[in-house]
Symmetry: C2
Subunit: 110 residues, 2 copies
Amino acid sequence: MVTKVKKKQANLCPVSAMLELIGGKWKPVILYCLRNDTRRFGEIAARIPAISRKVLTDQLKEMENDQLVIRKQYNETPPRVEYSLSERGKSMGPLLAEMEKWGNEHILQV
Amino acid sequence: MVTKVKKKQANLCPVSAMLELIGGKWKPVILYCLRNDTRRFGEIAARIPAISRKVLTDQLKEMENDQLVIRKQYNETPPRVEYSLSERGKSMGPLLAEMEKWGNEHILQV
DNA sequence: TACTTTAGTTACCATGTGGTTACTACTCAT
DNA sequence: ATGAGTAGTAACCACATGGTAACTAAAGTA
């Protein structure tokens, strides 16, 4: 078995590099969902009903690889897994807030 | 003939809505290329050699639809077309600068 | 014994996005 | 008559992303 490391060929543009981190369809929503709280997988799924479990798993995995979220697994049955924002994930908060502000001012108000 | 209006089903999240505007692979680069200057199609293509003409056309069209850039066509031969940032496009400048800063601090420095 | 619960995985499919290559229209200069 | 130069189009293809449905493991509970 080979460990797959996503090789998004080093992006030298900081803006594009940053956008790749939150580029997935659901990543901003997930970040928002975790912004203040640690949540279990099922909780996240319940709060974002439109996302399928497979895609949620995929996105969380990518975000873990990108060190945006931390995954903590408890070896119990039934399984329990908790997700929370890493420092890097938290550091994105203000930026997301700015994007939100821009969006409100320049898109939704139309 | 039916005019195609891209129906990106109204996105109520301002962050996602904003990300859709710059979500294309080359859009941040194009915005950067036009940030201070009006440029002809060929100029943009020359400054972003990695992008194909077709994709450049596509992206510029989308950005025009999204009112990020203004396309000005002169009816001469050979044709001349100039692209520049709209007010909305310019208003994105500070946000892009923040993203750049974040990218530099949290990705590239590693 | 069978069912429930959680956090996934597997196999498969549909679509969107980006990409390549060749082609066009029109006029001026050679 | 031919070629150059500009801003595209047209036809086609490959891959990444997102989506569905069915399945799994392990222990506790009825």
